[in-house]
């Protein structure tokens, strides 16, 4: 129907440049004549309005008819091109190149702006990297210093300290033992082994039965005295605390 874009057959072989325009105009005129014929035919058909009731169905039927008609039209038609004379080719070529140039210019400007952005980014990142490297260097120095300190410490000093500590403790122990010994000598003198106390007590009991008491002298070892007193082997004199007697077991 409405196909001004349909290009006509190129039946003639035109070699003359100036005739190209005329040729094109002629073809357009032909197409217009065809259209007028079609228009006349169409005006002969009547009008048809729709009511709500029959609208859908009749429209669908009409659509089917038109679509089938269009389909057959498309199948019949073969693609046609305009006559490729020099003029036409030149104009077409120029147009294509203009378009291409425009597109390439756009691409160029986009790429340039992108480049600039990337350069800025790069500079920023570079600066950041430098700063980070400086930080890392100073951290490394610090780390090395600390590492050295730790090494010397753990190797010699601790060992020496422990040794001295040990020696000190041993000395102290010796001192304590000596002091303890002196203390014991002073307050708890060792018993004199040559004199037998038990013999003295027994002899006294039997020799002088009415006064079996023995005076406690310094040669008596006090803890021994305490021992025999506590266990009931000897008894104190009721009036004189410095005298003891042997218990009379046989009575």
């Amino acid at each position: 129907m409405n196909q001004q874009d349909l290009d006509p057959d190129s039946t003639t072989d035109v070699g003359d440049v100036t005739n190209t325009e005329e040729e094109l105009i002629r073809e357009c005129e032909e197409m217009w004549k065809d259209m007028e014929e079609c228009q006349n035919k169409l005006s002969l058909t009547g009008t048809e309005t729709l009511t709500d009731l029959n609208a859908k169905l009749s429209l669908l039927i009409m659509q089917v008819k038109c679509l089938t008609a269009e389909l057959s039209q498309w199948q019949k038609k073969t693609p046609e091109i305009i006559p490729l004379t020099e003029d036409v080719l030149l104009t077409l070529g120029k147009e294509e190149f203009q378009k291409l140039r425009h597109d390439l210019e756009m691409v160029l400007s986009t790429m340039e702006s992108k480049n600039e952005k990337l350069k800025e980014d790069l500079e920023r990142e570079q600066r950041w990297l430098d700063e980070q490297q400086q930080i890392m260097e100073s951290l490394n120095v610090l780390h090395n210093e600390l590492k050295n300190k730790v090494e010397t410490f753990s190797e010699s000093r601790v060992f020496n300290e422990l040794k001295t500590k040990l020696l000190n403790v041993k000395e102290y122990k010796e001192k304590l033992l000596i002091t303890l010994g002196e203390f014991l000598e002073d307050h708890f003198p060792l018993p004199d082994g040559s004199v037998k106390k038990k013999k003295i007590l027994i002899n006294r009991l039997f020799d002088v039965p009415h006064d079996p008491y023995v005076k406690i002298t310094d040669s008596f070892w006090p803890p021994y005295v305490e021992l025999i007193l506590r266990n009931g082997i000897a008894l104190r004199h009721p009036e004189d605390p410095t005298r003891i007697r042997l218990e009379a077991f046989h009575q």
């Binding site: 129907m1 409405n2 001004q4 228009q39 729709l50 859908k56 659509q63």
Partner: protein
């Protein structure tokens, strides 16, 4: 001429004509201005009408696309559209008619239910576009869309006819539910 026919005149060279039918004058005028700002390969001619049939004094050239504008806020607008539809030739509905529903954004003001419009549109087998013509941005987008549709309807896009466009714009939901 009481009934609009799509092919009653020869097409004017390199022009595309669109007819907007609707009761909202101000909105339509704004839409027209936006459309004229769009660049279009052919010359654009816009006609406004409150309703069809067109008064006999007006004799427009061959019309390539009719857009019926329905305002969801007023029942009168829908009534007007329904009456105008009776004055359009059946062959227009093969892709050269489009419905535009405006005012769907403000749900509280809508006096017409969306279903009513959808049913009407399905009866006439035409595409339905939604647009809030009061909003600047939407209006500009809609203007662009209408210009593109117009270019296809008047044959300026090689290889696509109005009927093809109609098949592509058909909504996926089955009309059977609406008809029940």
């Amino acid at each position: 001429m009481s009934v609009l026919r799509p092919l009653d005149k020869l097409p004017s060279l390199n022009t595309a004509t669109i007819l907007l039918v609707g009761t909202e004058d101000a909105l339509l005028q704004q839409l027209v201005d936006s459309m004229l700002k769009e660049d279009c390969t052919s010359e654009l001619k816009v006609h406004l009408a409150k309703s069809l049939p067109l008064p006999s004094s007006v004799n427009p050239p061959r019309i390539d696309l009719i857009v019926f504008v329905v305002n969801l806020h007023s029942k009168y607008s829908l009534q007007n559209t329904e009456e105008s539809l009776h004055h359009v030739d059946a062959s227009f509905f093969l892709g050269k008619v489009c419905f535009l529903a405006t005012g769907a954004g403000r749900e509280s003001h809508c006096s017409i239910h969306q279903h009513t419009v959808v049913k009407l549109v399905h009866t006439y087998q035409s595409p339905l576009l939604y647009c809030d013509l009061e909003v600047e941005g939407f209006q500009a987008t809609m203007a662009q869309r209408l210009v593109r549709m117009l270019q296809m309807c008047d044959g300026h896009v090689p290889g696509v006819s109005a009927l093809n466009l109609l098949s592509l714009l058909r909504s996926s939901e089955g009309p059977s539910l609406e008809d029940m």
